[in-house]
Amino acid sequence: MRYMMLIYSAESREALAPEESLKLRAAHRKAMREAASKGVLRAAEPLAPSSTATTVRVLDGNVLVTDGPFAETKEQLAGYYIIECDNLDHAIDWASRIPASCKGGEGCVEIRPLPGVPALSQAESNAGSFER
């Protein structure tokens, strides 16, 4: 089962001090190298800060664009890993190795299983609903 590890951390206004930034990147690289060497790393990437976020909603056919993330919370999504694990305990082990305290604040990692896209059911493929 693939698990997505969503890194939430407090965003501070000031940029991270250079040495802290280096330390953080090194910690991520270490976690990624470990996962890659076990052959379980599927993806991992940082996100640009939430100040760059744009939220899109479609209401009655109108595209509504707003500045900012989906929810204004102290902790914001800062990056993600996708790791292949046998079960949740292994996923928890990996998650505990991901540095979450980005940019000074406390952070946490939310684990979500990725069940995969359900196969097309008989009814759906008859209707061709995906192609239309």
């Binding site: 089962m1 046998d86 079960n87 949740l88 305990d89 995969g116």
Partner: protein, 418 residues
């Protein structure tokens, strides 16, 4: 017929946890396991009256349930072959069913340890852990559990469904944790069992009978944990603690009113529970290392061993609370420590510590702090100050049994001569 039903019922109540634990391992699904067990139980009720109760009823039910699982898996397989697209959701379920079925069923291994660890997994909410543990490993039905927790049955059923879905979909493993994780995970299991006990012990309303049952279930689970992991001192400590507290159940209430430890009729204490608790505590302390359940059990033991309140070894109790506070710092433990110090003769120091706690945030709205303060002042015959503290406790107390008790005490200090 009635005998057969009774036999089946008793097997069900006694053995269902163990059978279920194995069925979950084999099927990889709580739902499929429960369904197979239900069907096997129905088969037993249909077949035993004609063919007689089998020699080993539990093994009979296990074998029957295992066959039901295989049948269900075969039906599923046929369905999959017809609709290949559904494979992704059923492949896990069918895989393990090919192992030698009948022979294994006669001497099936005890899978309840995995089941306990899965039910008490920290990735589940605490409410879910409690409900699941009681439902899967206890002998209580969903309606009984709902009643004990004063919840609508539908709420509890929903809670169980959600928990089982999370186990399945997030793949909470059905395993005993590895040694490096065992201490923290075992502590989580012990916490669930002790919470169940306390829910029953804090008999707050008219559902006393069900709540006694909850204590009984917690003790049964504590025994099971000792049986499955006998070399863990805290398992023994927890069981000892519950037995020693439960030994006072018949003396704690009189005419619907709370009776304090000091005023209890000690002849009503359950001697056999005390003897068992003391034995377990001794074994736990020999085994080591010491932990919070053992320390609390040791405190309960000192109360249990005093045949009169005046003989209580408060010096020793205060020392144990101090140890407990060092191991697990908590304001409530500090409060108990302060009371024990006062009772051991260091009255002024105890009162001073209580006043310090009252100034802190954690306990300044905790009614038992003021009740404890009032009680010490009453002993010092400082009745006016005691009355003030009782009034403060009354403002904050929530449950009517405690309110009745505090009112009685308040009357006593207002008319000390009477």
């Amino acid at each position: 017929m009635r005998d057969v039903c009774a036999a089946a019922e008793s097997v069900f109540r006694r053995e269902s946890g163990r059978i279920l634990a194995s069925l979950i391992r084999i099927s990889g699904s709580f739902d499929r396991a429960e369904e197979a067990l239900q069907e096997a139980f129905a088969s037993a009720l249909a077949s035993w009256p004609q063919k007689g109760t089998p020699q080993n009823p539990a093994a009979w039910i296990m074998t029957a349930a295992h066959r039901k699982l295989i049948d269900a898996a075969r039906r599923e397989q046929t369905r999959i072959e017809k609709h290949d697209s559904l494979r992704y959701e059923t492949e896990i379920a069918c895989a393990p069913c090919h192992s030698g079925a009948e022979s294994a069923a006669m001497h099936f291994p005890d899978d309840r340890l995995r089941l306990i660890f899965t039910c008490c997994h920290p990735a589940l909410s605490l409410e879910a852990r409690i409900a699941l543990t009681l439902r899967m490993l206890g002998g209580l039905s969903t309606p009984q559990i709902a009643k004990a927790f004063l919840l609508p049955e539908a709420t509890l059923a929903q809670r169980l469904v959600r928990a089982k879905r999370k186990i399945q979909e997030a793949r909470i493993p059905y395993e005993t944790p590895p040694p490096e994780r065992l201490p923290e995970r075992l502590a989580a299991v012990q916490a669930v069992i002790y919470l169940i006990f306390n829910e029953g012990y804090a008999a707050a309303s008219g559902t006393e009978l069900v709540r006694h049952e909850l204590c009984g279930e917690a003790i049964r689970l504590g025994r099971l944990l000792c049986q499955l992991l006998p070399h863990q001192a805290e398992n023994l400590g927890l069981l000892a603690l519950m037995l020693l507290q439960h030994s006072r159940r018949d003396a704690r209430m009189a005419q619907g009113e709370l009776v304090t430890l000091e005023e209890q009729d000690r002849s009503l204490w359950d001697r056999s529970a005390i003897v068992e608790g003391l034995g377990l505590l001794e074994a736990a302390l020999r085994l080591g290392p010491v932990g919070p359940y053992q320390l609390q059990a040791a405190i309960a033991a000192l109360h249990a061993q005093a045949s009169k309140p005046e003989q209580t070894d408060w010096v020793q109790i205060a020392a144990l609370y101090e140890k407990l506070a060092n191991l697990h710092p908590s304001p409530v433990v500090s409060l108990n420590h302060a009371v024990a110090l006062a009772m051991s003769g260091r009255m002024e120091e105890g009162l001073r510590r209580i006043d310090e706690l009252a100034r802190g945030d954690a306990l300044n709205r905790y009614h038992l702090l003021y009740a404890a303060r009032a009680d010490l002042l009453r002993r010092l015959r400082r009745y006016e100050e005691a009355a003030d503290a009782y009034r403060r406790a009354l403002e904050l107390a929530g449950n009517h049994i405690e309110i009745a008790f505090l009112k009685r005490r308040l009357r006593q200090v207002l008319t000390p001569g009477a």
